[in-house]
C-alpha cells in the first residue's frame, strides 16, 4: 500500500471530475437514442412479410452479438470512408450512434416483451370497438405494454452508464479519458483510475437500489390491478 498517495488523489480528483458532465450527458443521449430506436425495431419486426421479418431479425442478432467497441470504431473510423453515404462524425455523435444502436436492439426486446404481455382480449376489444390501427396502439396497447417494462428499462439506463467509458477509445473526454490524460501527464495511473471506479460505484449503486425498489412497487401494483387469469408482470419476473 506504500505506493498510494493521498496528495495525488486530491490533485487528481477535481481533474477527473471535470469529465463527469460529458459522461452523464453521453449516457442520457445514448439512452434516449436507444429508447427511440428500440421502437423502430419493435415495429419493423412486426411487418407481415416473412422475408423482411427474417432479414430484420438477423440484423438485430448481428448487432447484438458483435462487440459494441468494434461498432464504435466502425462508425468513427470507417463510416467517413464509405463511398457515397459516408460522412465524418464527431466522437460524441459516433458514440451516441454506436452505443445507441447497439442497445436499441436490447430495448426493442424489452418493448416486445411488454407488448406480448398485453392480454389477447385487449386486441380483440380494440378491434370490436372499430379502433383504427393508430388508436389501437396509442390508446389500448402501448399504455398497458410500457409501464410494466419501466424497471427493465431503468436497468438499461444503468447498463448504458457503465458502457459509456468505451467512448474514451474514440476520444470522448469523459471521466475515464480524463483519468488517462492525468496518468499520461503525471505518470500516475493508480489514483485517477481508482477515482473513476469510485465515481462509477457512487453513481450506479444507489440507482440500482432505486430501480429495485421501483420494480417491487410496480410488481405489487400490477399484481393487484390485473384480474385473475392474466398476470403479465408476474410472468415476466418469474425465476428462470
Amino acid at each position: 500500500m506504500n505506493n498510494w498517495s493521498w496528495e495525488i488523489f486530491l490533485e487528481a480528483f477535481p481533474y477527473v471530475l471535470e469529465g463527469i458532465g460529458i459522461t452523464i450527458g453521453l449516457t442520457i443521449a445514448c439512452y434516449l437514442f436507444a429508447l427511440i430506436f428500440g421502437f423502430i425495431w419493435t415495429f419493423v419486426r412486426r411487418i407481415p412479410v416473412k422475408p423482411v421479418r427474417w432479414v430484420i431479425l438477423w440484423i438485430m442478432e448481428f448487432i447484438r452479438s458483435t462487440p459494441p467497441l468494434v461498432q464504435l470504431f466502425f462508425i468513427y473510423y470507417a463510416w467517413p470512408m464509405v463511398p457515397g453515404i459516408g460522412m465524418t462524425l464527431s466522437p460524441f455523435t459516433s458514440a451516441v450512434l454506436g452505443l445507441g444502436i447497439h442497445y436499441s436492439t436490447y430495448i426493442g426486446e424489452v418493448y416486445r416483451s411488454g407488448i406480448d404481455g398485453v392480454d389477447k382480449g385487449q386486441w380483440e376489444a380494440s378491434r370490436a370497438l372499430n379502433f383504427s390501427t393508430r388508436q389501437k396502439w396509442t390508446k389500448i396497447i402501448l399504455p398497458q405494454a410500457i409501464p410494466p417494462t419501466i424497471p427493465m428499462l431503468g436497468n438499461y439506463l444503468i447498463i448504458m452508464f457503465k458502457e459509456v467509458p468505451l467512448a474514451s477509445t474514440i476520444g470522448v473526454v469523459g471521466i475515464l479519458q480524463m483519468a488517462n490524460n492525468f496518468g499520461a501527464e503525471n505518470w500516475r495511473y493508480l489514483e485517477p483510475l481508482t477515482i473513476v471506479a469510485i465515481l462509477f460505484l457512487v453513481l450506479s449503486y444507489p440507482s440500482a437500489i432505486l430501480i429495485n425498489k421501483l420494480e417491487r412497487k410496480m410488481n405489487r401494483r400490477f399484481d393487484k390491478k390485473t384480474p385473475t387469469g392474466s398476470k403479465p408482470i408476474s410472468k415476466a419476473n418469474a425465476p428462470g
Binding site: 505506493n3 468494434v70 470504431f73 452508464f161 467509458p165 481508482t194 462509477f200 460505484l201 428462470g240
Partner: protein, 220 residues
C-alpha cells in the same frame, strides 16, 4: 473483393487469442459465479459480507475501468505483477461476469421450492447432501437460460483486451486501419463478421440451454 482477400489473412491471426481469452474467461467466470453464489448463501456472516462487497463493486463499475485498473493500477498499488496482459484481461472479464452470474446462482438456489428442502430433511439428508442431490440439480436448470446469454456478453467483452495490447482480432483490425484508412470499412465490417461467426455456435448453445431448462417442467 481484392481488399477482402488482403485483409482476411491478417485478421485470422487474431482469432486464436480471442478464442483463448474467451474460453479462459468462460471457465473462470462460471467458477467465480458458483463460488461467489454459494458464499453469499453461507452461514458465515463475514464470508457473506466479503462476497457481497465483491459482487457490488464489480457490478457497480464498468468492465473497461476494471480492466485498466487491474492492468495499470494494481501492479503499482501492491507491487503485484499479474504476470501478463492475458491474465489481466481474463481476470477482469471473469471477475466482472462472475459477479453478475453469482446473482443468478444465488437467486436460482433460493427459488427452489421450500418443500424440497423440507422433504430432504425429512429423509435425514445432511446439509451437503440436500444441496448436492436435491436443491442444486433443480437450481441449475433455472440458471441455464441466463448463463447462455452471458456467453455472448463475454465474447463481446473480449474485444476490450485489444486495448491493453493483446493481439486479438480487433488489434489486427486497428493495425490495418492505421496503415490505410481507406480500408477501414472493409476491415471493421470483416472484424464484425468474424465476431459474429464465433458468436453463432454460442447463440445455438444458448437456445439449447433454454430448451433444456424448459424440458419436463410444467408451465405455470
Amino acid at each position: 473483393m481484392d481488399a477482402i482477400v488482403e485483409v482476411f489473412p491478417v485478421l485470422v491471426k487474431g482469432v486464436e487469442i480471442t478464442i483463448k481469452v474467451l474460453l479462459a474467461s468462460i471457465v473462470l467466470g462460471y467458477l467465480m459465479a458458483f463460488i461467489a453464489g454459494f458464499c453469499r448463501l453461507s452461514n458465515n456472516i463475514i464470508l457473506r459480507k466479503i462476497t457481497g462487497f465483491y459482487v457490488e463493486v464489480f457490478r457497480g463499475t464498468s468492465l473497461i475501468v476494471q480492466l485498466f485498473w487491474l492492468y495499470y493500477a494494481l501492479p503499482i498499488l501492491f507491487g503485484i505483477e499479474i504476470g501478463s496482459d492475458f491474465w489481466a484481461g481474463v481476470l477482469a472479464i471473469s471477475l466482472n461476469y462472475g459477479a453478475y452470474m453469482s446473482e443468478i446462482v444465488r437467486s436460482s438456489i433460493l427459488s427452489v421450492a421450500k418443500g424440497q428442502t423440507e422433504a430432504a430433511t425429512a429423509l435425514n439428508m445432511s446439509r451437503f447432501q440436500r444441496m448436492r442431490l436435491v436443491i442444486f440439480p433443480q437450481a441449475v436448470r433455472m440458471m441455464l437460460p441466463e448463463f447462455g446469454n452471458y456467453l455472448i456478453l463475454m465474447l463481446k467483452s473480449t474485444s476490450l483486451v485489444s486495448l491493453i495490447g493483446m493481439t486479438d482480432i480487433l488489434y489486427y483490425g486497428d493495425i490495418l486501419r492505421s496503415s490505410d484508412l481507406s480500408q477501414a470499412p472493409t476491415v471493421y465490417l470483416l472484424v464484425l463478421v468474424f465476431y459474429f461467426i464465433i458468436a453463432l455456435p454460442l447463440i445455438w448453445l444458448t437456445k439449447k440451454m433454454e430448451s433444456a431448462s424448459k424440458k419436463g417442467v410444467a408451465s405455470q
